[in-house]
Symmetry: C2
Amino acid sequence: MLKYKVLHTEGKARRGVLKTAHGDVNTPAFMPVGTVGTVKAMTPEAVASTGAEILLGNTYHLMLRPTAERVAAFGGLHKFMNWPKPILTDSGGFQVMSLSGLRKITEEGVTFQSHLSGEKFFLSPERSMEIQHLLDSDITMAFDECVELPAPHKKVAESMRLSMRWAKRSKEAFKDRQGYGLFGIVQGGTYQDLREESVKALTEIGFDGYAIGGLAVGEGQEEMFKVLDYTACALPDDKPRYLMGVGRPSDIVGAVARGVDMFDCVMPSRSGRTGQAFTSHGVLNMHNACHTDDHSPLDAECTCPACQNYTRGYIHHLFMAGEILGAMLLTWHNIHFYENLMKQIRQAIEENRFEAFYQSFLERYKDERKF
Amino acid sequence: MLKYKVLHTEGKARRGVLKTAHGDVNTPAFMPVGTVGTVKAMTPEAVASTGAEILLGNTYHLMLRPTAERVAAFGGLHKFMNWPKPILTDSGGFQVMSLSGLRKITEEGVTFQSHLSGEKFFLSPERSMEIQHLLDSDITMAFDECVELPAPHKKVAESMRLSMRWAKRSKEAFKDRQGYGLFGIVQGGTYQDLREESVKALTEIGFDGYAIGGLAVGEGQEEMFKVLDYTACALPDDKPRYLMGVGRPSDIVGAVARGVDMFDCVMPSRSGRTGQAFTSHGVLNMHNACHTDDHSPLDAECTCPACQNYTRGYIHHLFMAGEILGAMLLTWHNIHFYENLMKQIRQAIEENRFEAFYQSFLERYKDERKF
């Protein structure tokens, strides 16, 4: 059971707060991804210093290694990884589809091979709930199937309906407690009738929050926004809405304008390791020779430690020399950039100037298409 | 010109303080290695938090990339890498011998190929002094030749005498300023007569400190201690003595007992990246499965953040998953272990119980031979 309160709205954009067993999450919120019990190349203290209030952990990765039972023996994921704030875990469904080897899907669940060892595993709504309980996730995601898009209506419909039956079993298997909650996941691809059917099925079951799944898989921003336009507003007003795996800064700002409250994406951390820096004017590739003699910070407007203490020239040097500190500083900066964007969004909604913020953001944030 | 004061002695062990343009260095001191402008996998703030008061930078690496002239344009190495405390740079001589491709040694200097690009470079005493000046090193090392050991007396003698002529040219080329100093390097392999000849040559030139070079290159601890026994005490009492590239904890404690004041070694940082943890009872290999379910810290006596906040089981997990945070935490711990060892050594000398400390250290520190 999770308490969620919408504090203020401007148009469809919402400013809220979600109360969990491990603390409050101010929304709109961005969740850095801590796949296997760590946000790559960052200490949890550094992650917290960016303003992040909640992390995402991956059920699929953690069930394979070190195993959910082992994490539980260490006192849960918060203690294991030294992150005392809220954690949301995905259900494992998406990674089973995208990462594992041979897999077999039945009504009961999915049998699959570990991408690490080839060993066979089984995931079902009940097992996914059990694993997320062992991990001590504040927010548990219902177990769902993710179909590869584009796909014909019939295939997407069948997959969505299986996910809805799994959502019901997830709800039944979830051990409800104060401060812990379960989110359902809307599926249905880019078909409006299927999205609406999915919303109806989920709201009849009743969840602590609703995620919109199966987007940001190559359909393009315009198509994604179209789906959000008819999906987000169909969801209950009094529950948080989470757009899974999204995304680029402009995706996030646009989705907030369409009523979304929560986001996660590997983009800021992965980009940090590959030398891409998010700045208020777009994206920089720190491998480029143009940075060699540049004494300015990554982003003159940024207050993160990488921008306060280091030059573009130095960070370029670290990437040219293959130094780990390059990935450390740039990941820190990128997560800080995302969390600062969320802070700006929250303030703008509070002050009824989100629409103006959205327009000015689009005007100066030019360079995003590199991704 | 550097001020050095011996504050207290116990037997041959010395407790002193070295005053540089960027702050004081308490000796005996260990210098973490920041090869190419970063201690690998650590922020400089984290390095400072271990108690480190001085870093070592590598002339060879920095002259190739980003180049000494570029570092100077960024305001020197301290500013470039955000390390405001003292820095010692080596002369480049050792790395030219160990890393570079085709090289040609003449009386004038060494022509060599970059191990990165194959490009040709030239190093001489004068150019090495110029580079270290551009880097703004608090402690500059004289340019020397390092001969591969074991080698016959004649070969070691010739190499040492070349290094002594280069030491004289280094002294002449060094731009002396308050708070900046130049160290000479004693060579002569494991031949007592050559070491004594080298000490005599260097002390006649006169330096701010004296390094003992050409050791820890496979001759074994016993042989190294023998060389220290007759070399360290031959050096001036009122100048710091620096044992280059050393070493294991027991090497350091034994060398302090023989009158050495300063050390540097890649061991704690390199070991941190390869999963070796230094503890007060010896070395742990964090890849070992025995750590999987271990809820205890790396070292119960250690106050570093890795030991305060994480279990052996978690750090084992990070190494098994190939996570950068594993290298970050273990490097932090290892540097902290080394700096804490130096702190214990300094306190023991101050309190006239260094000999007892040395004995008890050897008794409980069993496991070092893994290196």
